[in-house]
Amino acid sequence: MDPTLFTQLLISGILLGGIYALASIGLTLIFGVMKIVNFAHGEFFMVAMYLTYWVVHYFHIDPYLATLILVPVVFLIGIVTYYLFIRPTLSSSVLAQIFITVGLSTIIQNVVLLFWSADFRSISLGYATDSLVLGPFPALHIEEAMVSPARLIAFGLAILLSLAFYLFLKLSYTGKIIRATSQDRSAALLMGINTDRIYRLTFAIGIVLVGLAGGLVLPVYSVHPFVGFDFVLIMFVVVVLGGMGSVVGAMVSGLIIGVVEVFSSYWIGQENKQVIYFLVFIAILVVRPSGLFGLKEEEELEHIETID
């Protein structure tokens, strides 16, 4: 394959993967700690895009700045959602939980439709969307390669956030508490941990993370009430592939999915690319249900629980 083309596809794939990873970190956290499959996750992504859009629209500030300003608002949304919809279902069956989030997603989509109409809104941000041209690199036979700053920013933040989160969960005391709660809720209660607070915190952080993702991709995508749905399936693929609860897994599998998607859309055809990654997804699930980066020990220990 022609090195220029190859490089470009690789760059595009990695940058796309960065966006996927960024969008999925929050989901994997909620998934991993609370064992809740949040089908409304895409809608929070959408709401964050809207909020950023409106702030940019009315106050004419930079979208990246707007995204940061919005963190407390999104956090609050997370808390409110937790109290209204998540906390009452913590002890319900998996099914009831899933379908409450399905209902929630219907509600959010249509409330947004009602208030903000079905128009497709986007911002144009010169500096972030004019590509940087790298090259040529004659030694590598690469003529030129384009990098979109907006995507680069999203990618960089994805890496930063997932690393920071990994370290937070691994090393910090709160991280340990979160992990402990995710493994055995009643034991955590007995250690004097206010698990309700941990769940609330986890859920809200998850929503903030997806909110950040929504704001950061606004220069790249347009927002409409149903945009969440375009992303949510990919988020699930990324999360399961990476291993539920593994932020680093989400990062790496986001990149894998991004690269696979771009290359397969070039070679096999844009219309079939989803088939490819869904099949890859099913295959990996079947071969390794704990995901690529789910702890191997985790798989084995789970086994102990199911067979003495």
């Binding site: 508490i177 992990r179 055995d184 009643s186 007995l190 004097g192 941990i193 206010n194 020990e297 220990l301």
Partner: protein, 235 residues
Amino acid sequence: MLKVSGLNVSYGDVQVLFDVSLEIRVGEFISIVGANAAGKSTLLRAISGLLKKTSGSIEFQGKQLVGRPPYAVVEAGIVHIPEGRHVFPLLSVRENLEVGAYTRRKSRKDLRRSLEELYGLFPQLYHHRDQLAGSLSGGEQQMLAIARGLMSRPTLLTVDEPSLGLAPMLVEKTFQILEHINKENVTVLLSEQNVFNALSMSDRAYVIENGRIVLTGAGKELLTDEHLKKAYLGM
């Protein structure tokens, strides 16, 4: 120190504890014995705040505990070691212990000191400190569960069937440790099926039957009680 009076507990519509009252003084070693399903675990769980449908009064050092969430109970100084160990399987032994010190998380130094103390008490745990708790043997997990409970320096430790499923050697060991802890001024409330061992160690014991306290007395005395011999010791 702990005063339970008129405690009623239900699961759903089914009442399990009826008007239970008991009293524990500082430094005592108390056992609760009774048949299966008598309500021993329920009593301990009610004290630790895990159960919702609870009425009556549980007073601990003058504070009313009924209706308070489990974490408040732990903060008050009561730690419950549940039946079935419940260690955090994917945390290392050390991390398990650190989480155990949650109520005293503010002071790093304190935490390290408790950790060292407990490693001294449980050398095996020190040996396995970086291993995932889920991969420990049953006995070791039981040790860990007890050690983890002690990390928050409780004034009252309630223990539910610590000897369940342990090999004879470990059963001995577990009881020795409980005795040792008690000597270090931790009040112990123990629920055990291993009635003989439990009673011979206890200062006092309560016998619970069908959710009611039917008998109480000094541990050694109860060992010779005819009814008890028949019902629980199978003699």
